[in-house]
Symmetry: C2
Subunit: 240 residues, 2 copies
DNA sequence: TCTGTAAAACCTGTATGACTAGTTTCGCAA
DNA sequence: TTGCGAAACTAGTCATACAGGTTTTACAGA
């Protein structure tokens, strides 16, 4: 285990906390730590970096916020597994503060999900196909319960992202779901007839079947169609 | 200005710091704060939430780490503008800890940049076209200086993302550049002849011209070709 | 009345010490 | 050898203090 060097060679960001953050990430890299591995305690770091425990704690909090490390009472900090929590916060903040529009989120999702659908068609396991088909059918079956349909919808898209076997896509799709939960009911209500709603549900089933059949082109095109129709529904409801 | 409620209705995350984070983000939402707007001081929040200043500070650090707020000495915290710093950290951490492969980063970039190229062709201003063409030509002109070519290359892609007018894409492309800086020289060296290198540079010029001409299909296809050839070069260098 | 400036008030960054509560380690006893 | 309990370790939170920025206030001069 390499000792942590206290000097602040990299990073032009000022402040002891920033330096500590750099030192800690360097420690993770230098020792090739993997998710689950433990970091030095606050007391040790505080000594090695010659800063107060306060500074180390704030650095730890910062790293935990971007999900590089996990913190919990009594235990040492550990290297974390990637997840979408931090990214979700950022996206929601962007929308809340009018820096990102709903349409922009939709376009990003469409772009990414056309790809996840194609990759899922190529790479999905049988177990994944069962899950994806299951969510699609659940949407059709429970279509009188909007909330339940929404949750199946979200799970459907996330499962496709997982089947694409690229964690970047999973994280991004996961991060968009907070916003999706806010806009989904609007799209649902703007589809005035049950027929329209079931038509949307049917696209999901067709998409699941394309993935099941291992047809990336069809999967990608169906995903595109799905997003285009959702965009139309939102437009009808006045979402810019 | 609404007062901040101290209760912790939302979020199952335990701990006073997590509660404070929730309370502060709720404050931003409830008061519809925009980038640049000031938050209450640590002392005020500490009083309103009935926690120590330590807790508020750690919450602030967490929010600053995900770039929801800006901190600086003596000044009150302000709502921040979105940028790619936090996302960069996450991506680099994912690669460092073997949770994300270089190929996965490339696929994500390819997916997104095919779209930014198409959108840029549709939406770019004349000023943006000048910048994009400028970067492409700089690559051709300075091609004996690898470092300079790389920086132009990165700036080229980022400018296209900007011209796509979707901040989500800008942030993502920006976030990938840290990794790109690490792998770029490998791809460059694996192109053994100057002819090969200039061929790559020429694709950039053609792409810039497609964007300039307002041809989204061509721009998208050239971007795809560019990534496919880069992937080939990396494959030749043994990057999985 | 308006303006410029200096002092006062305010605010964050960092350090220290203390105490609680959760976790790991280690040695002893069965 | 195993199981258990005490000791050592560790993080969470609080209170306090002070240095060094920043903003506000109030006063003096025009």
């Amino acid at each position: 285990m390499t000792a942590i060097s206290g000097d602040d060679a990299a990073s032009h960001a000022s402040g002891l906390v920033s330096s500590a953050i750099v030192a800690i990430t360097r420690h993770i890299r230098a020792n090739e730590l993997n998710p689950g591995d433990r970091l030095p305690s606050e007391a040790v770091l505080s000594r090695e970096l010659s800063v107060s425990r306060t500074v180390v704690r704030e650095a730890f909090r910062s790293l935990a916020a971007v999900r590089l490390i996990d913190l919990s009472a009594g235990k040492r900090a550990t290297v974390a597994q990637l997840d979408d929590r931090a990214m979700s916060l950022m996206i929601e903040h962007g929308v809340d503060t009018a820096q990102i529009s709903i349409n922009q989120v939709y376009d990003a999702r469409r772009t990414i999900e056309m790809r996840t659908a194609a990759l899922a068609a190529l790479r999905r396991t049988d177990a994944e196909v069962r899950l994806i088909l299951g969510h699609a059918h659940a949407m059709v079956d429970n279509f009188s319960d909007a909330d339940s349909v929404m949750e199946s919808d979200l799970a459907f898209h996330l499962e496709i992202a997982r089947a694409s076997r690229n964690p970047i896509f999973s994280i991004l799709i996961g991060a968009f779901q907070g916003i999706a939960r806010q806009t989904w009911p609007i799209g649902w209500r703007s589809r005035s007839s049950d027929a329209e709603r079931q038509a949307m549900n049917r696209i999901h089933v067709e998409l699941a079947e394309a993935i099941s059949a291992g047809d990336p082109q069809a999967a990608s095109q169906l995903m595109a169609r799905h997003f285009d129709e959702s965009a139309k529904a939102l437009l009808a409801a006045g979402i810019a």
